[in-house]
Symmetry: none
Subunit: 156 residues, 2 copies
């Protein structure tokens, strides 16, 4: 039994004519611990798809219930957006999922999909968009390096 469940690595897979994509086997191994489906929704901030285990959304729901901002407009909007958009995507016996038109369009994905690990969740990008995003992040982090050290608690 695995102790940790982190989505990692960056993997590019093909989207076939029917719209099917293989979920990377590492991801599948994690998901299989608890179910045979992932939850996906359009990223609120980027032209990409986000995916995670249903557990994470459950935790998000709990966190929001427990927060002081229970009645805030902002929380309301966020939960509407996330839960209104999210949907379960089961994978078949060969490990493929079929993403909806809505998701693919939001992420500009046509024939290839890039899976990017983010720890408890992951993202799915088009190769072109991911290339741009990765460059932006590297530049950004390089600029703010000191704060990274603090968060990390490790200097090297």
């Amino acid at each position: 039994m695995r102790k940790t469940f982190l989505f990692m690595d960056t993997i590019i897979n093909k989207v076939d004519a029917k719209g099917r994509v293989s979920l990377p086997s590492d991801y599948r191994a994690i998901v299989k611990e608890s179910s045979s489906e992932i939850v996906c929704y359009r990223s609120l901030t980027s032209p990409c798809i986000e995916g995670c285990l249903e557990d994470l959304l459950d935790k998000l729901a709990s966190d929001m219930e427990n927060s002081l901002d229970f009645f805030s407009q902002e929380q309301d909007d966020l939960t509407n957006l996330v839960f209104g958009d999210a949907k379960r995507y089961p994978f078949d016996s060969t490990g493929r999922i079929m993403l909806s038109e809505k998701l693919l369009k939001h992420a500009n994905i046509t024939d290839s999909a890039v899976f990017v690990g983010k720890g408890r969740k992951f993202q799915i990008w088009s190769p072109q968009n991911w290339e741009k995003e990765e460059a932006r992040i590297r530049a950004e982090v390089l600029k703010n390096r000191p704060s990274l050290r603090n968060t990390n608690g490790d200097n090297k």
Copy 2:
């Protein structure tokens, strides 16, 4: 039961035609306490590979979740950078891992790999790069020696 889990020592092993390297047995003994795989990623600052137990990244994920907002840009960037690059490397029954092309290229490793202990993590260098790095570190220490003496309070 072992009490401490520190990667130590410097060991050079061969990378075979398939890209396999033996993880030093001392390292393996540490890893085996909790699993049979390590996590590796490209060092942000040096031309080498870094490795650690998944626990360390899991802790990082938790820290991020607790200190940054779920939807914040900063959290987004950091998780992409860290988890997008990291990957699990399980070792087989003879104790070998198979490093990816991406990692080998970043560290300029071809047929030999130098494992350098760093406590909770370790680094993997090409012999040439490690030679240079070691020289640099020695020079650095020599340069700072006076202040080191002062701190020590002992002149000889």
